[in-house]
């Protein structure tokens, strides 16, 4: 522990009983000697205490969700989820039945949700550079230059480093930095069964983006971040070998993007599409896009993504469209 120690994250760790003896001793010294740290600790502990106080009568299910900031939501996809359904997913989570696979949680009438496991979606289990090139197998991130970095508060997130052509084609376009993962859906489909006559299944991909200042921000006025989900039938090798021409063979797709200014608050966006019973796998992608033509890789550095989640939602009459 030094003068450079970031005390608020350490205070938070202590409130959850995660500090070591050394950290607790160091925090104690700072609490005694520094009134600002003492005040910050007290406020944090008071919040913790209020949340722990059953007599506060907090009921998160009855608290309305904030309205989305229209200025930050750009290019909402035709396949985007209705707000009501997104709220239903959360309501379902409060019921406490969410889990990996198809343990469906009943939330709003006729709406059920379940998380689908994706590898390292929170970027906590692996750090350093991600693999380059298009992924060839399920269960790992791979794409253009990007790395998983440790933030001051101990969290890890993915940083987009440079645009490129993921297939390495000479003279190929290099307008964006995309990182992909192939997700096996056969187990999910098996559990869902073939009969979908009374319900539709949608897959929703969500991710939290934030942007910090980077040296070349002035050169990238249109830089934006986005999520994409593509559903395919067959084997993933076919997609790996034929990207991006294979896009026209996608069974369904959903996409969403956002443009943040450096220093803006982190924002979560999502895209969704219908799951046809014949679909066997999903390709998910997160990216930072310069929105400029060119074949020369461009350094980025300011965009980060975290908390990538894939959710299956069962609901009738969902207003989404198939690509074909």
């Amino acid at each position: 522990m030094t003068d450079e120690t970031d005390w608020p994250p350490l205070i938070q760790k202590h409130l959850d009983g995660q500090t070591s003896e050394v950290e607790a001793a160091s925090l104690s010294e700072q609490i005694v000697s520094d009134a600002a740290v003492r005040s910050d600790y007290l406020k944090a502990a008071q919040i913790h205490g209020a949340l722990s106080d059953e007599t506060m009568g907090l009921d998160l299910e009855t608290i309305p969700f904030p309205q989305p900031e229209a200025t930050k939501e750009r290019g909402r996809s035709l396949f985007a989820m209705p707000q009501q359904l997104a709220a239903a997913v959360v309501a379902g989570a409060f019921v406490g039945l969410l889990g990996i696979g198809v343990v469906w949680a009943v939330n709003f009438p006729r709406s059920e949700a379940s998380f689908i496991a994706i590898a390292n979606g929170d970027f906590q289990s692996v750090s350093g550079p991600v693999a380059t090139g298009f992924p060839h197998q399920f269960g790992y991130w791979s794409g253009n230059p990007a790395d998983v970095v440790l933030e001051p508060d101990g969290n890890q997130s993915l940083r987009f480093l440079e645009t490129g052509n993921v297939m390495g084609e000479p003279g190929g376009g290099a307008t964006n930095c995309s990182v992909f993962q192939l997700v096996d859906l056969t187990s999910l489909q098996h559990q869902l069964g073939v009969d979908r006559s009374e319900s539709q299944i949608a897959l929703e991909l969500s991710a939290q983006f934030r942007r910090e200042a980077a040296p070349n921000d002035a050169d990238l006025p249109k830089l934006e971040a986005g999520v994409r989900i593509f559903l395919f039938q067959g084997k993933p090798e076919f997609v790996s070998s034929n990207w991006p021409n294979v896009l026209r063979d996608a069974d369904a797709l959903g996409k969403q993007s956002i443009r943040l200014a450096p220093g803006d608050e982190a924002s979560t966006i999502s895209a969704s599409c219908l799951l046809n019973p014949d679909v066997t796998f999903a390709l998910i992608a997160v990216s930072a896009n310069t929105r400029a033509g060119g074949t020369t890789p461009i350094p980025l550095g300011g965009y980060f993504v975290d908390d990538i989640q894939l959710t299956a939602i069962k609901q009738p009459n969902l207003p989404v469209r198939f690509v074909k």
Binding site: P8, P9, Q12, K13, H14, L15, D16, G17, T19, A24, A25, L27, S28, E29, I31, V32, R38, S39, Y41, L42, K43, A44, A45, Q46, I47, H48, G49, A50, L51, S52, D53, T55, M56, L58, D59, L60, E61, I63, P64, P66, A86, A87, V89, A93, F94, G96, L98, G99, F115, I116, A117, G121, D122, Q124, D153, N155, Q208, T268, D307, Q309
Partner: protein, 176 residues
């Protein structure tokens, strides 16, 4: 001195204890953040208060009298507790001194916590709800959410910091 045994004493004690318990618990949580530990201290405090109830002067606020006992029980707990890393006695004393002058922020929490919870992301609310309202451990939430335990902790800790910042903003705008 034997403990009081009349039913009216017991009823009066119970009523005052129930009124004071939430404030006492929140005060204990400042020194001992682990909720199960804090509730254990609160339980020991209640027993000590009942044993000494005959010495209570009804002219004085019950809460002030009871808080003295909770501080003693907190010290006893910390002297025997070794499961988790704890703050030092000097740090706890400094916090207890400042806590007495922190009523303004406490009032702001009472007033604005629900509003600020409404501004959290869906994921953060889900995990705060699971952790505090449903009483799940981060390990259980990790299973439920399909995320690592570390990620659950980080989401909860980030959410608390967002709540703190939100309540500070609300308080500052009131004072402006």
């Amino acid at each position: 001195m034997p403990p009081p045994d009349s039913s009216s004493d017991h009823e009066r004690f119970t009523r005052m204890l129930l009124e004071s318990e939430p404030i006492m618990l929140r005060s204990i949580l400042v020194s001992v953040p682990h909720r199960a530990d804090a509730r254990e201290i609160l339980q020991e405090t209640a027993v000590a208060l009942w044993r000494q109830f005959e010495t209570y002067d009804p002219e004085r606020p019950f809460l002030n009298w009871a808080m003295g006992f909770s501080r003693i029980e907190t010290r006893r707990f910390l002297s025997r507790e070794s499961r988790r890393a704890q703050l030092t006695e000097q740090a706890i004393e400094a916090l207890e001194m400042d806590l007495q002058g922190s009523g303004e922020f406490d009032s702001a929490i009472e007033k604005h916590l629900a509003t600020c919870l409404g501004k959290l992301s869906e994921k953060a609310r889900r995990q705060i709800s699971g952790y505090y309202l449903e009483g799940h451990t981060p390990e259980a939430l990790s299973q439920r959410e399909g995320r690592t335990v570390e990620a659950i902790y980080k989401t909860i800790q980030r959410a608390r910091r967002e709540l703190q910042a939100c309540i500070e903003r609300q308080l500052n705008s009131e004072l402006a």
